[in-house]
């Protein structure tokens, strides 16, 4: 088992885009993450596989601190998010503003899109750039239109999310995340809420981003897709990283019976 030897070695000159050390998270009695160490270089595409309940979503949510881990550190772009002990156990961010600044540099794409229903697609995309990054509205709109064009829904800019198909909503959500020009993109099962015939259009967009050299962490059940686009595949089981490496290695037959069983489905 090579869980303790992360595939991507930290580069002292160029810091990792994301670096996770000793991450632990529990819900009550259930320990969901049991010490995760993990690095993603800039431009690296990492797929995270694992059976249901193995802690993949929790890992992503700890990276942008939607869940606060009990132990361990998360470093994004060389900046660690400082957590301090809380009264009555648990931790909290030492500086809420710093945490928000970090979150602004991490794009997150949710399984069920979570587009804001009171705003148009364009409104969704420019919301954070104009109000969190406080960039000029006109620039944001130009950029947003370009992004919507890139994900193939330029014609839907002025529609409300409820009028879009699932695939279109997910592509809008990707554009919304990209609009912040994030250091790293997190995808939590971006296609599993979609009808089968809509999966392809979203995967195509993600693949294009991978080819552009974006740093991405993708939780997915699409094994073939993961094999195709990833530089690194991480296999999680019961809160630990059981396998991690280039797809050719990780998917080599007979490597890990649990992984083999997972791939078989």
């Amino acid at each position: 088992m090579n869980q303790m030897t992360p595939h991507a070695q930290p580069d002292p000159i160029q810091p990792s885009a994301v670096s996770v050390r000793g991450l632990r998270k529990r819900y009550g009695a259930l320990e969901v993450l049991k010490g995760i160490d993990f690095d993603a270089r800039r431009g690296e595409v990492v797929s995270i596989l694992g059976s249901s309940g193995s802690g993949k979503s929790t890992l992503l949510r700890c990276i942008n601190m939607l869940e606060i881990p009990e132990a361990g550190t998360v470093t994004v772009d060389g900046t660690e998010i400082a957590l301090i002990a809380q009264r009555g156990g648990g931790r909290q961010p030492a500086d809420a503003r710093a945490m928000d600044r970090m979150r602004a540099r991490i794009g997150m794409v949710f399984q069920d899109f979570n587009l804001w229903s009171h705003k148009t697609v364009l409104g969704n995309v420019i919301e954070a750039p104009t109000h969190v990054q406080k960039r000029p509205r006109a620039d944001c709109i130009t950029e947003a239109r370009a992004l919507l064009d890139k994900v193939g829904i330029a014609d839907k800019a002025d529609q409300y999310p409820s009028r879009l198909s699932g695939g279109q909503q997910q592509r809008a959500a990707i554009a919304r995340a990209l609009a912040m020009n994030p250091t790293v993109m997190l995808f939590d099962e971006p296609t599993s809420a979609l009808d089968p015939e809509l999966v392809g259009e979203v995967l195509r967009v993600i693949r294009a981003l991978a080819e552009e050299g974006r740093t991405m962490l993708i939780v997915t059940h699409e094994v073939n897709f993961a094999r195709d686009i990833s530089d690194t595949v991480v296999f999680m089981n019961e809160g630990v990283i059981e396998e991690s490496g280039p797809p050719e290695e990780v998917f080599a037959a007979g490597n890990n019976t649990r992984l083999a069983r997972f791939i078989e489905g």
Partner: protein, 235 residues
């Protein structure tokens, strides 16, 4: 028929202007109470959603009590209760007799406190009908708390709350008729004055009913417009 027309006309003998002024008072006191109740409702809903145990308990007690006690009693409490505070002070300054809040203030306070309980329930329900993921998406984009509240939470909750708030407004309008017991010359009180003056109670109370109906219909139309406008994008 002709008599009735002259009676509610705008001539020197007519009650028209007085009734219209009274209608304006009704709308004013109802609107003031509604606004006060809205503010209270936000606080109480917040206590119910995010408060600690004592706050939640207080909020629950408040909504249960005020939704179970007749508004008339609350109005008496505000009107005579304020007298309890103000009369000794006024007497100290040489003013004789019973002194209380003016009917408008007492009425606004009573309506505000009563409708606050209904506001709170509407707002709380609206908050829980907002999809948690939409709020989480805002956090994930790095929105600070206040920005997220202002740009995402508030508009989403408001959209879900609008139909319920429309109902609360209609209720407040109709309850405002009870404020006539404080002597505030709103529609009902004006109708009482008119009917004892002319000995035509039916005519005056009927006119009061027509005025109220007009106001409720108009406000229903306005709320429909608002709902239509703010429900864009809702599935």
């Amino acid at each position: 028929m002709l008599d009735t027309l002259t009676m509610f006309g705008f001539g020197p003998e007519g009650w028209g202007p007085a009734m219209l002024r009274a209608a304006a008072n009704t709308v004013a006191v109802a609107a003031a109470g509604f606004a006060l109740g809205g503010g209270l409702g936000i606080l109480v809903a917040w206590a119910k959603i995010a408060g600690n145990a004592p706050l939640r308990w207080l909020a629950a007690a408040y909504t249960t009590i005020l939704r179970g006690i007749p508004d008339l009693l609350v109005i008496y409490l505000f009107y005579f209760g304020s007298g309890l505070l103000l009369t000794p002070i006024a007497n100290m300054f040489g003013v004789e007799g019973f002194v209380s809040f003016p009917g408008f203030v007492a009425g606004m306070g009573a309506i505000g406190v009563v409708s606050g309980a209904y506001h709170a329930e509407v707002i709380r329900g609206a908050f829980y009908s907002v999809k948690a993921g939409e709020l989480e998406a805002a956090t994930a984009m790095g929105m600070p708390r206040l920005l997220k509240f202002r740009r995402i939470t508030l508009p989403l909750v408001a959209r879900h709350a609008l139909p319920g708030l429309g109902n609360v407004w209609q209720m407040v309008l109709k309850e405002s008729a009870l404020i006539s017991v404080t002597g505030l010359v709103e529609i009902m009180r004006q109708a009482q004055i008119g009917s004892s003056f002319t000995r035509q109670p039916f005519t005056f109370y009927f006119a009061a009913g027509v005025l109220f109906l007009t106001i409720t219909i108009l406000s229903g139309l306005i709320f429909n417009r608002l709902e239509h406008r703010y429900s864009r994008g809702r599935a």
